[in-house]
């Protein structure tokens, strides 16, 4: 710097001031000391939970009392509420971090071996260690079942969202209510529904001769994907509907005013404009069902063998694998269950993160990649044109 003036110090407006820090520190220390006295010297009981609760209650009281030495009533209430809210946030983060760390530690043994990702449990006995067997068949099962659920749910979900938002009317309100009710169906009921409907099956009336006389599916990956779809469809519909509502009405009117039909407008303008958001809707749907156990439990069957065919025979998926192995009384099995849980968690995180990144963009905003593609497409076309002339 060429000037002799010292750079002006910035005034700190946020954060804890020294006064508050002092109050906070003394309240924490004081309440700890008092609680320790209570539990170690006075009361005949020791209980970690009781200790934590008493400490927190005493802390709040002391914090309020100490703050009252310098602040008025409003200021004290402000501080105490601030402390309560901050605790809630911290507890939530701690619980989440605890789950992740705990599962990872327990699953570490299994995760370290490559055979865990490439092998199946088909020929693995209870005495075999973690160097044998793995979750390959479960990963294939999850992949195929979720893929089938996507194939079923995405067209149905997006078509319904288009109906709700672009067509509307009185029936739409009923449909919306049904969708909301559907998203509240416990997933085990969805599983039961598919079980009763398709696994047990039902007789077809005799005047429908072409389809045979009885509908009945075996337990299979496909049955599982049907059960998953029951949970996935409402998520896709609700999210897609919100996304479609964000498409500016001016674009619809502009398109209609050019003499296009409603369907042409939806296909050519509304859906392309909403595309990033629709992808988010699909990803949220996937994240919702990828870890579901209960709908799959009744209808997928269970097998240790590798089954690539989702339409015939039982097929295991990651959540089902975790469910089954966590109940076995062997350390190795439990380690495998935790390992599979970590893989599942990582998948869910990936889907949510991708959904956040794509969903953060405003509808119709053109990404840099898309801009390049638009230009390239035109350049190609002009080249063709040049050759023609």
């Amino acid at each position: 710097m060429s000037t002799n003036l010292p750079a002006p110090g910035r005034i700190r407006t946020g954060g804890l001031n020294p006064d508050q820090l002092f109050h906070l520190g003394s309240a924490v220390a004081g309440s700890f000391a008092l609680t320790w006295m209570l539990f170690e010297r006075i009361l005949p009981v020791t209980s970690p939970l009781g200790f934590a609760v008493s400490w927190y209650a005493l802390f709040l009281t002391m914090y309020a009392v100490i703050s009252a030495t310098t602040l008025d009533r409003v200021g004290v209430v402000d501080r105490v509420v601030g402390a309560l809210v901050a605790t809630a946030g911290a507890v939530l983060v701690a619980v989440l971090a605890g789950i992740v760390v705990f599962i990872t530690i327990r699953g570490k043994g299994a995760l370290a071996h490559t055979n865990f990702y490439t092998d199946t449990l088909a020929l693995v006995g209870p005495d075999d260690g973690l160097t044998k067997g793995g979750i390959y068949s479960a990963m294939i099962g999850t992949f195929e079942q979720v893929a089938l659920a996507i194939l079923i749910s995405v067209p149905v979900g997006i078509a319904t969202a288009v109906y709700l938002n672009e067509v509307g009317g009185r029936l739409a309100r009923t449909v919306r209510t049904v969708v909301h009710a559907m998203s509240a169906i416990p997933t085990i009921v969805a599983g039961l529904f598919i079980y009763a409907m398709f696994i047990i099956g039902f007789d077809l009336p005799h005047w429908l001769p072409l389809l045979g006389d009885r509908v009945s599916l075996p337990r299979s990956g496909f049955a599982a994907s049907l059960a998953l779809s029951v949970s996935m469809i409402p998520v896709v519909i609700t999210t897609a509907e919100v996304v479609l509502r964000l498409v500016p009405n001016g674009l619809r009117e502009a398109s209609l005013a050019l003499g296009t039909s409603r369907w042409q407008t939806v296909k050519g303008v509304v859906l392309p404009t909403a595309r990033p958001g629709l992808i988010t809707a699909v990803l949220l749907g996937i994240a919702r069902v990828i870890g579901e156990t209960s709908p799959v439990l009744l209808v997928a069957g269970y097998t240790n063998a590798l089954n690539y065919d989702p339409f015939h025979g039982p097929q295991v998926s990651l959540p089902l694998f975790v469910f089954n192995l966590a109940r076995q009384p062997f350390d190795v099995a439990i380690a495998r269950a935790f390992g599979a849980a970590v893989v599942l968690l990582v998948l869910v995180v990936i889907f949510f993160a991708t959904a956040r990144i794509l969903g953060g963009r405003a509808p119709g905003q053109v990404s840099a990649r898309k801009q390049r593609r638009l230009s390239a497409r035109l350049a190609r076309r002009q080249l063709v044109e040049g050759n023609l002339l």
């Binding site: 009117e253 502009a254 209609l256 003499g259 035109l378």
Partner: protein, 278 residues
């Protein structure tokens, strides 16, 4: 810079629209039970520019949207009367709304190019969306139509080197002219414009006004404007709308622009065009 508007245009690849006469007969309009227009009679002559003026809320936009069947898209909206294009009722049961809207194009107050399409594709969007786009082998024709439409809208020189950029990458004034080009590319017989310059700077406004002057011979123009100078500059005829406390919007006076501005018959018209109210 060459004057874009006097450069000869390449011949149009599709059949050009022929300006049509639009006449509204005894038009009334409602939103729910609330009547906002009553007894509007107006003839918009082929190849002329008709300006609709009047204070805010008197029903100009509503009237304009009735002229190309956009009014009925608002839930609860209804109307009465007749709108004839060269003698054919656009509300006749045999006339599909899509066909009316194609023949009677519209430019909105807020520029609304399609954000997912390039400038080039925006111009062709009317044809493409309707499934009448040019196939692979007819790129040259498509190129001609794009150039012709953009030249008509006075935008060609500014975008000729970046036709592949997204429509949203243009300035507000350029976007509005892109919307005009898009509307012209489907060769409409009538072009409705609802305050097309209200969000634009003076230069862009002048460009749009030049555009209107240039296209007036190939399409009938109906323009809503709050700018009295603009109405005087661009229009051949003028209609003054007014709504009162318990009276739905109606036409107080209509006639040649010169008459409306220089010797209006009605006192309210003279007050309005001289800026004494509204």
């Amino acid at each position: 810079m060459t004057d874009t508007l006097t450069t000869p245009l390449p011949p149009l690849p599709t059949s050009a629209g022929t300006p049509a006469t639009l006449s509204a007969r005894n038009v009334g309009a409602w939103f729910g039970d609330h009547q906002v227009l009553e007894g509007v009679d107006l003839e918009m002559k082929a190849g002329q520019v008709t300006a609709l003026i009047g204070p805010s809320g008197c029903g100009k936009s509503t009237f304009l949207r009735i002229l190309n069947r956009m009014h009925e898209l608002v839930p609860g909206a209804s109307l009465s009367g007749e709108v004839l294009i060269d003698g054919d009722d656009i509300y006749a049961p045999t006339m599909p709304p899509i066909e009316s809207r194609r023949r009677i194009g519209m430019v909105f107050q807020k520029a609304n190019p399609f954000p997912t399409m390039s400038i080039h594709d925006n111009v062709l969007s009317g044809l493409k969306l309707a499934g009448k786009g040019f196939g692979k082998g007819r790129a040259a024709e498509a190129g001609d139509l794009v150039e012709h439409s953009l030249r008509s809208a006075g935008l060609w020189d500014e975008v000729r080197n970046r036709l592949g950029a997204p429509g949203g990458s243009l300035s507000g004034g350029q976007q509005q002219r892109l919307c005009i080009a898009r509307a012209l590319a489907v060769s409409p017989d009538v072009l409705l414009m609802d305050e097309p310059c209200s969000a634009l700077d003076p230069t862009s406004t002048r460009r749009v006004e030049e555009t209107i002057a240039a296209i007036a011979h190939e399409v009938t123009v109906v323009i809503v404007t709050h700018n009295m100078q603009q109405a005087q500059r661009v229009s051949d005829r003028c209609a003054f709308f007014l709504a009162a406390e318990n009276q739905p919007g109606h036409i107080v006076e209509q006639g040649s622009t010169a008459d409306i501005f220089e010797n209006p018959r009605d006192e309210r018209t003279s007050d309005y065009v001289n800026g004494r109210f509204g």
